[in-house]
């Protein structure tokens, strides 16, 4: 039923198709690209070639094929987005469910912290905490150096769970007074059993929506960090969408429009598609949507 409603959402279907296509191209990157991520286009004067048959999306300053770099960069960004979204949603579910279900002091403290962090300028908090984590020896031993992918995923998850926990908490607050929870409690179910078996499965709709928005949040978070030079440095010559967009900053003044346009376009298309899918999911899983029809 929810699926049917989702399928009725034409824009979301189109977006899923685009996103699926992109993911396929990224997963099969050795087959869909003609050059390696660090490989130059084989033509003697190969820097700043405009888009042509030789290099579909043009080349950059040292003659690397922009299309291949874009595909590899998207791969890194999607990895970061998916991993940190899953971690954020996991933590957010646990914290939100416990806070909503137990209430009291724990709930107050968690929600105060969440409010404060959500109101704080994201980039400032991200940078300050990034450096702080980077200076703690044992922590970098576990999650890697400040420029590693693991570190960025950890950092983005550290900030990502709060929005999710708020959504889950709201859902749990609404659900916990319902009869079936009361019945479960009366029949002697433990708190963790009720959360795991009743509360979270019944909140799956909002959780899915939160997951999609977390992916967008993490991808654009990584891109913002990379844009200002505080992002990951994924291996020799490897790249991410944020790094590619960061190169666009310099390319603007010189008029090499293809260096600026294509990475920006891919980033916008990815976040637009995921946003649309998330919105359609919300419409599809929200039971109130049927009331009006």
């Amino acid at each position: 039923m929810a699926w049917k409603r989702f399928a009725g959402h034409k824009a979301a279907l189109v977006c899923s198709a685009i996103l699926g296509f992109l993911v396929l191209a990224v997963v099969l990157s050795p087959l869909t690209t003609r050059y390696g991520v660090n490989e130059s286009v084989k033509a003697p004067p190969n820097s700043y070639l405009s888009p042509s048959k030789l290099a579909w999306l043009g080349t950059d300053d040292i003659g690397r094929d922009l299309y291949s770099r874009l595909i590899y960069g998207t791969r890194v960004s999607l990895l970061i987005g998916l991993f940190s979204a899953f971690i954020s949603v996991f933590i957010g579910c646990v914290v939100g469910a416990v806070a909503g279900f137990r209430g009291g002091r724990f709930d107050d403290v968690i929600m105060r912290i969440t409010d404060l962090f959500l109101a704080f300028p994201f980039l400032v908090a991200l940078l300050v905490v990034r450096n702080m984590f980077g200076s703690i020896g044992w922590l970098t031993f576990i999650i890697g150096d400040v420029s590693s992918l693991r570190f960025i995923i950890f950092l983005l998850s550290f900030f990502g769970w709060m929005g999710v926990s708020r959504i889950v908490r709201g859902q749990v607050l609404a659900l916990k007074e319902r009869e079936f929870i009361e019945a479960a409690r009366a029949s002697g179910a433990s708190r963790s059993y009720i959360i795991k078996r009743h509360l979270l499965p019944n909140s799956i709709g909002p959780i899915m929506v939160a997951l999609t928005f977390s992916v967008v949040g993490a991808i654009s978070g990584e891109a913002t960090l990379s844009f200002f030079g505080y992002g990951p440095q994924p291996g020799a010559g490897a790249t991410s969408l944020g790094l590619l967009v960061g190169q666009a900053k310099g390319a603007v003044q010189t008029g090499y429009w293809w260096i600026a346009l294509f990475p920006c376009l891919v980033l916008v298309v990815i976040s637009l598609c995921i946003n649309f899918i998330g919105d359609a999911l919300r419409d599809a899983t929200d039971p109130r949507m049927d009331a009006g029809k």
Binding site: A11, D115, L116, L118, A119, F120, P121, F122, L123, V124, L127, V128, V129, R130, N131, M132, G134, S135, I136, V216, S220, A223, T224, F227, F228, V245, A248, K249, V252, Q253, G255, W257, A260, L261, C264, L267, V268, S271, L272, N275, F276, D279
Partner: protein, 324 residues
């Protein structure tokens, strides 16, 4: 009402102290103020270093260090920046003034346009214009500020001058280099593009808030009552619909300060606009603790202040809210 506001404000002060303490720890661990001082001033004498440590509260103990920093901070005995040993306050003041101007312009444009579009969309839910507004809002949310800045710069800095041979909107600074004194037209021209970038985000967010809030209100019983009293449709919409729909929107607006400041940081850096965003990133890059701490205090204080305004305005605007 008054007691509620008072109690809420009283809470803000311990919160401010706690958060600035956390920021102090985070900055001390993250930027290593002592090492960055030595890096910028390799020939500093021992007494200079001792004075720097003393003024910034950089003793080995974080708690006593914080309080000695706090004492210097509230008595305006502020340390000078580590690079070039400049006074902090004049620089910070200019940065805040520039940012506030940009932020206020963008918020004003964004909120007015966003609310108007939201109302426009809510009048016929599911209609053509509703779908168009919704789609446009999604596109607006999905374009990060650095991308819209780059595209606008590409358009105006590179192509406009190529096509038309003049510069309509300059893409950096507040004034052209060498400009002295105040010039409103030049200032507006310089602010136009960054304002648009920040306003796009605001418009996208607020049109959606307003639409959903107004839709909730339009379905309520008092709207029908207002109509059956014989009020004109416009009056019903404005007096009863929009006015009630604004309540949640105002609350969200006050909470959105963080998002707007965040947007400013990115936009200012790309447009080379001398506001707090540029100030923050250059100070952060240098590990300039004396420049960073006052800015962080101001950011935290304004976040708390706007949170407070949100709570109190909500309580004033909506008589159904219980104040306990």
């Amino acid at each position: 009402m008054f007691r509620f506001a008072l109690r809420r404000s009283a809470w803000a002060i311990p919160t401010l102290l706690l958060v600035t303490f956390l920021v102090y720890i985070a900055l001390r661990m993250g930027t290593d103020p002592l090492a960055s001082y030595m890096r910028s001033n390799p020939r500093a004498t021992r007494s200079k270093i001792a004075q720097y440590k003393e003024l910034n509260g950089l003793g080995s103990n974080y708690v006593t260090g914080y309080f000695s920093w706090l004492k210097n901070f509230v008595t305006f005995n502020w340390p000078k920046s580590i690079k070039g040993s400049r006074e902090v306050w004049p620089e910070l003041k200019d940065a805040i003034a520039n940012s506030a101007r940009l932020g206020a312009a963008a918020t004003a444009v964004g909120v007015v346009v966003g609310l108007a579009i939201g109302i426009f969309a809510a009048l016929r839910p599911g209609g053509k214009r509703d779908v168009a507004v919704n789609t446009a809002a999604f596109v607006g949310i999905s374009i990060p500020p650095y991308i819209s800045s780059i595209l606008l710069q590409l358009l105006f800095a590179v192509y406009w001058s190529k096509w038309f041979g003049n510069t309509l909107f300059p893409t950096s600074g507040v004034y052209p280099p060498g400009q002295e004194g105040f010039d409103l037209v030049l200032m507006i021209k310089h602010m136009a593009l960054p304002t648009v970038v920040v306003a796009i985000q605001v418009i996208a967010v607020y049109s959606r808030y307003m639409r959903s809030s107004l839709l909730d209100v339009l379905n309520s019983d008092y709207m029908r009552t207002a109509r059956s009293k014989g009020l004109s449709e416009f009056r019903v919409l404005m007096r009863h619909g929009v006015r009630n729909a604004l309540i949640p929107v105002i609350t969200i607006a006050a909470l959105d300060i963080g998002a707007i400041v965040g947007g400013l940081i990115i936009t200012e850096n790309i447009f080379d606009y001398p506001g707090t965003g540029k100030y923050f990133l250059s100070a952060f890059g240098n590990g300039d603790f004396p420049l960073l701490m006052p800015l962080m205090v101001i950011i935290v204080a304004s976040v708390l202040l706007f949170n407070l305004i949100a709570d109190i305005s909500y309580a004033i605007l909506d008589p159904r809210i219980r104040l306990d």
